[in-house]
Symmetry: C2
Subunit: 184 residues, 2 copies
DNA sequence: GTCTATACAGCGATAGAC
DNA sequence: GTCTATCGCTGTATAGAC
C-alpha cells in the first residue's frame, strides 16, 4: 500500500496544507499530487471542478472545524468565560503558536478574495458574532467592539509573527487578548 | 506620446499596484506590461533581474516612503504625540481607509516571505521600533508593548476589512488605536 | 479509483531589429 | 530605449487504459 491518502477527507487535509504554504495561485497541481500522493486522475475524480473545487472544499472544512471547536462553544457554552478561554487555547494550538498561517486571512488579501468572497466573509463574521455573543453573556461592556478587535488582532498577530519570523509576537498577542477580553 | 510610463520611478509605482492586486505569483508579466504600458523588452531593460528585481524595487520604494512619512517623524519630531497622530492619519490615507492592502503584509503570508524575508522583517521592525521610541519620548508606559500591538492591529484591520468588504472596520481600528496609544 | 500520456495555453525570460 | 518574435518550461485540465 503505497498510497498516501485514502479518501476525499484525507485529501482535503493534505490539499489544505499546500494552499496554506503556497497560496491559491502558487499551489500547483504537481505540488498537490506530491503532497496527497494522488495522481492527477484521482484528484480530478475527487474534485471534478479542479483547483477551485479543491479550495471550496478546504474552506468548508476549515469553517466546519472552527464552528465545532470555537464558534459553537462561544455561542452555547453555559460558561461563556470558559468558552473564551477555550477559544484562545484552541487558536494558539490551531495556528501552532504563530508558525502556521491563516489560510482564509491569506486568501482575503489576494486575488482569491473575489473568487471566494462569500466563504471568507462568512468565516470572519461568524467568529466576530460568536465572540460578541459570549462577551454579552459574560456581561462585558462593549462586546461588539471587543470582539471585532480580538478577531482582527489575531489576524494581525499572524501577519507580524510571520513577517518578523518570531512566534513570540503571536503568543504575546493572545495573552494580551485574554486580559482585554475578560476585563470588567 | 502614447507611452504610459516615462521612467523607472514611474514604472515602479505601476508595478507596485499590480503586485498589490495580484500578489507576486499572480502578477504576470503581461499584466505588468498592460499596467505600465511598457513592452517586455523595456521592462527587462529597467529590471534586468526580472520579476524578482521588480519586487525588490517595489519593496524598497514602499520602505522609503514609510521611512520619510512616518518612521522618521516618530523618531525625530520634537512633538512625539503629534508624530503619532500623523502616523495614524498617513496610515489611513496610504491604505485608503482600508480599501488598499498592505503589499508587505501580503508578501509575509505567502511563499514570497522567504524570498524577501530581510526586507519584510526590516519594514515591520522599523515601524515597531519607531513607534516605541515616540511613545517613550511621550512618556507613555509599556511603550514596546503598545507599539507592537498597534502595528499588528493595523495589519489585522486590513485583513478583516478586506475579508468583510467593510472599510469601516479599518477606520474603527485606527480610532481605537489613537485612544489606546495616547492613553496615559 | 488510479494511473500515464497528452493537449494546449500561459508563464518568465531572451534575442535582435529598429 | 522600445518593440516583436520566439524559446523552453510549467501550468491546468482531459482522455483513456487498466
Amino acid at each position: 500500500m503505497s498510497r498516501t491518502v485514502a479518501d476525499r477527507a484525507a485529501a482535503i487535509a493534505a490539499v489544505a496544507e499546500v494552499f496554506r504554504e503556497h497560496g491559491f495561485e502558487g499551489a500547483s497541481l504537481s505540488a498537490i499530487t506530491a503532497r496527497t500522493g494522488l495522481g492527477k486522475g484521482s484528484l480530478y475524480y475527487f474534485f471534478p471542478g479542479g483547483k477551485e473545487e479543491m479550495a471550496e472544499a478546504v474552506l468548508a472544512e476549515i469553517d466546519g472545524w472552527f464552528t465545532r471547536a470555537i464558534f459553537s462553544p462561544l455561542r452555547d457554552d453555559a460558561d461563556p468565560e470558559a468558552a473564551i478561554r477555550r477559544m484562545l487555547r484552541e487558536t494558539d494550538s490551531y495556528f501552532r503558536s504563530g508558525r502556521r498561517v491563516c489560510l482564509i486571512g491569506a486568501f482575503a488579501l489576494g486575488d482569491t478574495r473575489d473568487r471566494f468572497a462569500a466563504r471568507i466573509a462568512a468565516y470572519f463574521a461568524a467568529w466576530r458574532a460568536a465572540l460578541a455573543e459570549a462577551l454579552m453573556r459574560a456581561n462585558r461592556p462593549e462586546a461588539s467592539e471587543r470582539a471585532e478587535h480580538a478577531v482582527l488582532a489575531i489576524q494581525g498577530a499572524l501577519v507580524l509573527a510571520r513577517a518578523l519570523g518570531d512566534q513570540a509576537v503571536f503568543v504575546r498577542a493572545l495573552e494580551r487578548l485574554e486580559r482585554e477580553l475578560l476585563a470588567e
